[in-house]
Symmetry: C2
Subunit: 192 residues, 2 copies
């Protein structure tokens, strides 16, 4: 099996579609981000890469709070719009008809229609070049009641989606379950 | 639509399955990580959360290099095994029958069988609590020739998978394409 070198590329799979929220002045605004992931377990933290010039970034620096909202497939148009338009020119909340609520931090706007919402306090902002890596401590988690099964979040009801660039720039749904984690690998223990 | 508060949780979708590689002493070792994401565009960087006590982390701190390998569905057992076993006790490369190669950095081990490999140089290590957030600059990208279409990486050939915890701890395949990104949201522009 041969390998081809492509030079330095931002190439991992899957990437999420996250709607990052911040109040800019008094106005709630949301941008789409595919570059982020969980950053710490205890206490729970998340990191998101945001271009310095982004309108949302201004709000994050002002308030040192932000939100992470996981959209469902039903919101794919709205999520995409949040990645196309800039809050400096349009009111995305109005265009997307988002119902915004606030939690314990008071100034990190959350989207009612998104099944999962994280309220975050900024811990670090690393200037890495084109982007700032914003690391936030997750202060509270909200899940839509309709997306729970036996009191636990259920990915089949949440219906999140993936951002893919290859071979084309698409959003993809989650597919079939292929194996049980922390389990299927045990079969290889016989080789130890 | 009501919301339920679940307290601070590491709850985003999707999470990747990444095999993080490092030489510990002279021995290549790989661990599975679901907590990571792209951290910067120019230059390309990636961040991964790793528990301090992990064997792989020792190698990362020693060499200040690491690799990120994206497994395909065909490697689900091997990937899971890398998340169960510790390199301090077993030789995961032998058990998984990985063919290891090295690239321009010389000491970041890469897995031939994984369709996508990133070679990284450590830029920052942030101690966030239970985990260290390791930020690496992507120095080179390798893609298996068999996973290219017209010279570009093709997700349908790479066949990566997702780590899900809810409602059960599973790996899931990618599902159907639901919309074109930076496109479907334009339909909402009429509301501006």
């Amino acid at each position: 099996m041969g390998k081809v070198r492509l030079g330095p590329q931002t190439l991992i799979y899957p990437m999420p579609v996250l709607l990052i929220g911040a109040n800019v002045g008094d106005k709630p605004n949301f941008m789409a981000a595919a570059w982020g992931g969980i950053a710490n377990g205890e206490p729970p933290m998340i990191s998101v890469a945001i271009q310095h010039h982004r309108y949302t970034h201004r709000g994050i620096k002002q308030n040192l709070t932000f939100s992470v909202n996981v959209p469902s497939i039903d919101l794919v148009k709205e999520a995409d719009y949040c990645g196309i338009a800039s809050g400096s020119k349009v009111n995305k909340v109005e265009v997307c008809r988002f119902t915004v609520f606030y939690g314990k931090l008071g100034n990190a706007p959350l989207i009612e229609q998104c099944p999962v919402n994280l309220e975050c306090k900024v811990m670090h902002i690393l200037d890495l070049g084109s982007h700032a890596l914003v690391v936030g401590r997750i202060e509270e988690t909200y899940v839509s009641e309709s997306c729970l099964t036996d009191g636990k979040p259920d990915v089949n009801k949440i219906k999140p989606f993936i951002y893919t660039e290859d071979p084309a720039i698409h959003y993809q749904a989650f597919g079939e379950v292929i194996a049980k984690a922390f389990s299927v690998g045990k079969e290889l223990k016989v080789r130890q």
